[in-house]
């Protein structure tokens, strides 16, 4: 990563942190409903990988923990927040919610709630890319526990035999809700699991955005060069419970402390300060600016936006006025 970009990346990670913390508050205030899965602690994963991708050109798909992936892909944070507020101005017009952020104009192909669901969708998007003949790739972010779904194995197999341009990124935060990985999974190192499909893979520290960026660059170069799928495992940790309804009582305090000592935002901040590229005051200023932006622009936009009219509940079930329903225009 170029030095000039690092400050911006720091800002993006700090923004991601503050955005998610504000979501937490809005949920407590009952402005956001449903299931809400937050990303604090894992920022370097989505932001580091997508920093190495061509956002808006490459396709991105992920699970329900999707706000930051969408924003880094180019989605307007105002419209992401408006979606959480269930407004007509939301990215998915208030029909999707936190787990179903979509921004197709930016090729953010969605957040999906079924664990493991996006694995084959990503392979299919890659098949579409292959048929169109472009140099895009599809990047699929999913959790560690998702790898115990059949779709993981089915998709890796198909991606390999058909040489599809897809990068699978495993955000290994060591838990699937409250079940620690060693209690659910026979092989702890996820990158080793793909060797059975003859797919190249790597494991990287997911808290260090520089390292994530480097590893992602290598992975993306491989996939874009037409060499087929790649699997990148990032070791990370989520600070909050799995979702807002999770008590988070199953993790040892010592474990939590260990991980918060390797905070991705603080690590990059300190590195930039040490290198003389940032001062403490500048960082504080950046933080204040972000907090103001979230409050004055993003939350305000969401809160002031109209809800979708209930009379439109029947829209978007099927295509509107599709001529082939009547057997075409004859």
């Amino acid at each position: 990563m170029k030095n000039a970009d690092k400050k911006r990346v720091l800002r993006e990670m700090l923004f991601a942190r503050r955005f998610e913390e504000r979501c937490y508050e809005a949920y407590v205030e009952r402005k956001i409903g449903g299931f809400l899965h937050l990303y604090p602690g894992e920022e370097a994963c989505a932001i580091g990988v997508l920093e190495a991708a061509k956002v808006g050109h490459d396709y991105v798909i992920t699970s329900y923990r999707d706000h930051i992936h969408a924003i880094k892909s180019g989605a307007d944070p105002k419209k992401v927040m408006a979606e959480l507020y269930a407004r007509e101005t939301g990215v998915s017009k208030g029909r999707g919610g936190s787990m179903h952020i979509f921004d197709i104009a930016n090729r953010f192909m969605g957040g999906y709630a079924l664990v493991g669901g996006p694995f084959p969708l990503a392979a299919g998007i890659a098949k579409g890319i292959q048929m169109q003949g472009g140099d895009e790739i599809c990047i699929c972010f999913l959790g560690d526990a998702a790898n115990n779904q059949g779709t993981f194995h089915e998709s890796l197999n198909m991606a390999k035999i058909w040489n599809l341009p897809v990068l699978y990124v495993c955000e290994n935060n060591l838990y699937g809700i409250g079940t620690r990985i060693d209690r659910s999974t026979a092989v702890i190192d996820q990158y080793k699991r793909v060797s059975g499909y003859n797919i190249p893979s790597a494991q990287e520290d997911g808290q260090d955005v520089d390292l994530v960026y480097k590893a992602a660059n290598k992975a993306i170069r491989h996939v874009r060069a037409g060499k087929g799928p790649y699997f990148l495992e990032l070791m990370t940790y989520r600070y909050r419970g799995h979702s807002m309804s999770d008590s988070n009582a199953y993790r040892a305090k010592t474990e939590e402390r260990m991980w918060s000592g390797r905070d991705p935002v603080i690590m990059l901040r300190d590195r930039l300060i040490e290198a003389g590229q940032l001062t403490h005051d500048e960082f504080k200023e950046m933080d204040t600016e972000i907090l103001d932006e979230i409050e004055d622009e993003i939350i305000r936009y969401a809160a002031e936006s109209p809800e979708p009219p209930a009379s439109e509940v029947g829209r978007y079930v099927l295509a509107e006025n599709d001529p082939w329903v009547k057997g075409g225009v004859q």
């Binding site: 396709y59 999707g96 979509f102 969605g110 392979a123 299919g124 579409g128």
Partner: protein
């Protein structure tokens, strides 16, 4: 007009659509080199190559999801699931993704996939190869369900399904691939909504779909010959959405309805048609609607037991006779 078998009609529809649009692909187990378990893609592998006629691994949820993902980018996959019994494994992607993605993305994304699969009960295939699953598919919003009763419908429905921007499930029948019938020589697109009057009549309406249309037609012939009852037969080739107007029009004319399905009765096509009759034309009825369904059992291997579990034209005749007290 050409008198061809249903599998030949399906090959023709695939071939024309693949020739028309390079983004149309076919995928499924043994559909390429082998040409399909029921020959619905015979010869296409040689013509269009392995990039477009894809032999998939035995990963129903995986390849169905892959087809759906590809459809996000404008690919138009025709996915064959070898037997509808295996479609249970793909329910996650069909229901959770294909049927819902347009809605939950606020209309930004669509999944124009076609999923075809032979359902129904053939001869002594046992419990795990005899599912009739159309009721499952038609119960979920966001999916179209059609089911051909003739080579003409099989051809025209597949062609329209490929071009339509909604996900379409085509419920075919294992026993009907060798059925012969007229298919127009010129290109033909069958509507995906509506119903057809397979036989005009005035005394009672027999509603059927797919194979049960043929039981209804046979029963109508017997009823006319032996009892002077003129039954109308309505072919419900579209199961989702069902043709409320067509159902209403026929019941308004005959004032009696018998619904015939090959599946178990609970939560089924007949139950749904009855509900529509209730809602649309209850006061036109001269008798309570009746359904003729399979028994509520897994399908047995034993031939006599299998026959006992399934309805046929005689059960339809009996139901009508009982209704008329003759």
């Amino acid at each position: 007009m050409a008198d061809i078998m249903m599998w030949e009609a399906l090959v023709r529809a695939h071939d024309e659509e693949m020739a028309n649009d390079p983004m149309v692909i076919a995928m499924g187990e043994d559909i390429g080199v082998v040409g399909g378990t029921y020959k619905a893609t015979l010869g296409l592998y040689d013509k269009y190559g392995e990039q477009r006629v894809i032999d998939t691994p035995i990963s129903e949820n995986g390849y169905t999801g892959l087809g759906i993902g590809a459809s996000f980018l404008g690919v138009r996959p025709i996915i064959e699931i070898m037997s509808v019994n295996f479609a249970w494994l793909a329910m996650d992607q069909i229901f959770n993704t294909a049927a819902k993605v347009r809605y939950m993305s606020g209309g930004q994304l669509e999944a124009p996939v076609v999923i075809r699969s032979p359902g129904g009960t053939a001869h002594q295939l046992g419990s795990q190869h005899s599912a009739r699953m159309e009721k499952v598919f038609m119960g979920v919003a966001g999916l179209r369900v059609v089911t051909p009763s003739s080579p003409r419908q099989a051809y025209g429905l597949l062609k329209s399904a490929v071009r339509c921007n909604d996900p379409v499930f085509i419920n075919e029948h294992e026993l009907m691939y060798n059925m012969k019938g007229d298919v127009p020589a010129e290109e033909y697109f069958h509507p995906l909504e509506g119903s057809e009057i397979a036989r005009e009549g005035r005394d009672v309406t027999l509603f059927g779909y797919n194979i049960s249309v043929h039981w209804c037609l046979k029963a109508a012939g017997l009823l006319s010959k032996h009892h002077g009852i003129e039954a109308e037969v309505i072919d419900l080739f579209a199961l989702s959405p069902l043709d409320r107007e067509g159902i209403r029009n026929s019941v308004n004319k005959t004032h009696r309805a018998v619904i015939v399905e090959e599946a178990e009765p609970a939560v089924g096509v007949a139950a749904e048609v009855m509900a529509i009759i209730n809602e649309e034309c209850f006061f036109e009825l001269d008798a309570a609607p009746v359904r003729v369904s399979a028994l509520n059992v897994p399908i047995p291997y034993n031939h006599a037991m299998e026959k006992a579990a399934l309805p046929d034209e005689n059960d339809v005749v009996d139901a009508v006779r009982k209704m008329f007290g003759v």
